[in-house]
């Protein structure tokens, strides 16, 4: 006689040690197999798009910092590129080099956070997390030297970068470039060959390349599924066309591939920073832009390859000092739409791991 089982619906609530941020999922299980996932978000909505309509273009930069609070330079960069496109301003060369250096440093920070928390979700008792955060501290000290803050930086301005870097910054940056590859090797020794990690993450949470393209996924998740698409190569902005780097790609699109892609991207970021440090020259860092920018009437879309995916801002201007419409194309929100497909049919433990490997940031999802 077959046993009668009953599916159970659990609410993985907004307060939970492992949903990164305030995210709620209603999951229906049959034993350990997941039958249905319904994500509920909006707990961190702050109305950024509406608030931006009341602030001048320079003040909106402080709003964009707080979208993906882990990778604030990339947010600033995307916004500033959009406004520069709208107003037809060209930043000076040195500003573009500094922007690229800082954006790549921010990518390393974001991937360190993602990897650390991914391993925390796997259950490694915060040890790899502490190692990743130890290196993140050093990068945040570099940012503090540059612009006085560590997380919400507001470093970029329309027409360039806010202020030039002090001489100490270049020395510290070179030291960092010297010892960071050794630390990434240490993480790989600790984690990549670990049999438990392999058994847990290989073959779980598979996202095929075709599904990814159909769902508009972008970022490391897309590349781990085997699609060769990186905005720094297909639509280069700033000086990405003058530096050489590879775009790591996965084959299968499971959690292990996503982890490997992020680690490989960290190494490539170090390579880009080294080349920029070699190529940079003296010069001004800010174009002559009035304090209250008034772009002509029109619209523009500026996007960057952020650490979580393609972050884009669509700005409509009506000639005044504040944007008329400010629309954010947030990568985490769009990547979240693939979550249900990845999770149907897998187990409870895999759900947490898959969600962790997608690196969703609720500040971006809810804006």
């Amino acid at each position: 006689m077959p046993i009668r089982t009953e599916p159970v619906t659990i609410n993985l609530g907004p307060q939970h040690p492992s949903t990164h941020g305030v995210f709620r999922m209603r999951i229906t299980f049959d034993g350990e197999i997941i039958l249905d996932v319904e994500p509920v978000f909006g707990y961190l909505h702050r109305g950024s798009e509406k608030l931006a309509e009341e602030r001048t273009y320079t003040q909106v930069i402080t709003l964009t910092d707080r979208l993906d609070y882990v990778s604030s330079m990339s947010n600033n960069l995307a916004y500033v590129l959009a406004v520069e496109k709208l107003a037809g301003i060209n930043p000076p060369e040195r500003a573009m080099y500094i922007r690229v250096i800082v954006a790549e440093l921010q990518r390393i920070v974001s991937h360190l956070v993602a990897t650390g928390f991914f391993l925390n979700d796997l259950g490694a008792l915060a040890t790899p997390l502490m190692y990743c955060f130890r290196e993140r501290e050093k990068i945040l000290d570099l940012f503090e030297m540059l612009c006085g803050a560590r997380i919400t930086l507001s470093y970029m301005r329309v027409g360039g970068v806010f202020q030039d870097a002090p001489p100490d910054f270049w020395h510290s940056l070179r030291d960092f470039l010297n010892y960071m590859p050794g630390y990434i090797d240490e993480y790989e020794t600790l984690i990549t060959g670990n049999e438990i990690m392999l058994i847990r993450t290989k073959g779980t949470g598979i996202l095929s390349g075709e599904t990814a393209i159909n769902s508009s996924i972008s970022g490391p998740i897309l590349r781990a599924s085997g699609v060769n698409w990186d905005l720094r190569k297909t639509d280069p902005y700033d000086v990405y066309d003058r530096v050489d780097f590879d775009v790591p790609q996965g084959t299968v699109g499971d959690n292990y591939d996503r982890y490997l892609t992020r680690v490989a991207e960290m190494r490539q970021s170090l390579r880009i920073i080294e080349q920029c440090v070699d190529q940079i020259e003296e010069g001004p860092v800010r174009a002559e832009v009035p304090a209250l920018v008034r772009p002509p009437i029109g619209d523009a879309y500026g996007h960057v390859e952020g650490p979580k995916g393609e972050l884009g801002f669509y700005i409509v201007s009506d000639g005044s000092i504040a944007p008329y419409r400010f629309k954010i194309r947030s990568p985490s929100l769009i990547n979240l739409s693939a979550l249900r497909g990845m999770l149907l049919g897998s187990k409870l433990a895999d759900m947490i791991v898959t969600f962790g490997s997608m690196d969703i940031n609720m500040g971006e999802v809810d804006r």
């Binding site: 159970v8 659990i10 939970h16 040690p17 492992s18 350990e32 391993l119 925390n120 979700d121 796997l122 259950g123 490694a124 008792l125 915060a126 040890t127 502490m130 190692y131 470039l177 010297n178 010892y179 590859p181 050794g182 630390y183 090797d185 240490e186 600790l190 990549t192 060959g193 670990n194 049999e195 438990i196 990690m197 392999l198 058994i199 847990r200 290989k202 073959g203 050489d244 590879d246 775009v247 790591p248 790609q249 996965g250 084959t251 292990y256 591939d257 490997l260 892609t261 490989a264 190494r267 490539q268 390579r271 080294e274 080349q275 070699d278 187990k347 409870l348 433990a349 895999d350 947490i352």
Partner: protein, 406 residues
């Protein structure tokens, strides 16, 4: 009067001496006190000393564990209360005692309250049969190991009681997983112990220690490995701690407990590694034996070393998924345990009373078998366990090479 109480046959002579001391007392006009009372007082005193020593060592062990895990993670552990943070366990105890003892609405009263007590009985009972030094033990049961195996199954019931009585779905999930895990790992544990028993010829722990001319870890590498994994799983310690996976089910079967009841669960969880380390020391590492230093010190040192290895494993490895844990028990450890048993039984049959030279030959054969098994298993699982190549070629023109961290 010749006492016929059973413990006198098996317990230490110290017990008998204490009984004799108490039997001379007079109390409240009753002279001398009845011998059941003297017997009880003597036993109580011995057990009181041992249990308190174990609990005090455990509380200091919590401080050491948190400092060591901190150092593994490149940070300092607790160092605020007292010099070097030594008063942290006291602070923890005071905090737990002063918390509200919550009792959610749908709980099953008696079962909910009794679960912590049942949980803590088992790790403490283990210490009743282990020799702490030469001739120092509470009771030398001639079925010592069987007693330990029986007692280490008690947490299964306690876990289920806690999970069921909490009236919470998460707790029930955790309890179900825990029961499945504990029951599955009994079998490899017993199989590896039987290998040791064949070599020593007796179930009593004191005899096992004395029968080890060469420590059994050398003679039974496979048995040691299986026992280490099985006892880690029995204690719900990383990498087998799905039962209390913080990142998935909040806290498993003890989610709804607060205050000192939760403190009792945690205390039992901290005493368990010491108990496991004591068992491993007695069975595989020659117990209290060692040159020069007094035997109690050797025992303590070996227990601390095994405890450190368990802690090291806990601090490094991520956890396994529940079906992988079951697969590990039934498909990996169980066949290996049976293989170990056959080989050891064959060796004992051939060499009835082995000399030291023959023992070394046995050790060689066992190590060869263990390494062959390991290589064989890795060949079988090679597709699941192979790492993928790095996804981008790293050094090219213009980029600096990698350097090792100092």
């Amino acid at each position: 009067m010749e006492p016929i109480y059973v413990p006198f046959r098996e317990a230490n002579s110290f017990y008998r001496n204490l009984y004799d001391l108490f039997a001379e007392w007079s109390f409240w006009g009753v002279s001398p006190i009845p011998d059941w009372l003297a017997y009880f007082l003597a036993g109580f005193l011995i057990v009181f000393t041992v249990v308190n020593t174990v609990v005090i060592v455990t509380t200091i062990g919590t401080w050491v564990e948190r400092r060591l895990i901190g150092r593994f993670q490149s940070r300092v552990g607790p160092n605020r209360w007292g010099p070097w943070g030594l008063a942290t366990p006291i602070a923890d105890a005071v905090k737990l005692l002063s918390k509200e003892d919550t009792r959610p609405e749908g709980v099953d009263g008696w079962v909910f309250n009794l679960a912590p007590l049942v949980f803590i009985v088992s790790p403490l009972l283990v210490f009743a049969v282990i020799p702490f030094g030469e001739g120092t033990y509470i009771a030398n049961l001639n079925i010592g190991i069987l007693f330990i195996i029986a007692v280490t199954t008690a947490p299964t019931i306690a876990m289920f009681m806690a999970g069921w009585a909490s009236g919470n779905r998460y707790s029930l999930f955790g309890a179900m997983r825990g029961v499945a895990q504990l029951v599955s790992y009994e079998v490899p544990m017993v199989l590896s112990i039987v290998g040791v028993l064949l070599l020593s010829g007796s179930l009593s722990l004191v005899d096992i220690v004395e029968a080890q001319r060469i420590p059994f870890i050398v003679l039974q590498p496979l048995g040691f490995f299986i026992f280490l994994l099985a006892i880690s799983a029995e204690m719900n310690r990383s990498p087998f701690d799905i039962v209390e996976a913080d990142s998935e089910l909040v806290a498993g079967f003890h989610t709804e407990y607060s205050g000192m009841k939760w403190g009792t669960f945690q205390l039992a969880e901290f005493i368990a590694p010491f108990g496991a380390a004591a068992i491993i020391t007695t069975l595989f590492l020659k117990g209290w034996d060692g040159p020069l230093l007094p035997s109690h010190l050797w025992f303590f040192g070996k227990v601390c070393f095994v405890w450190f290895v368990l802690l090291w494993i806990r601090a490094t490895l991520p956890r396994l998924r529940v079906d992988q844990i079951m697969a590990l028990a039934w498909k990996f450890l169980f066949p290996l345990g049976i293989l170990n048993l056959f080989i050891t039984a064959a060796q004992v049959l051939v060499w009835e009373d082995p000399t030291t030279g023959q023992l070394w030959i046995m050790a060689g054969i066992n190590w060869a078998v263990a390494i062959a098994c390991l290589v064989g298993v890795s060949q079988l699982m090679s597709d699941k366990l192979s790492t993928r190549a790095p996804l981008a070629p790293v050094p090219v023109k213009g980029a600096r090479g990698l350097r090792e961290v100092r």
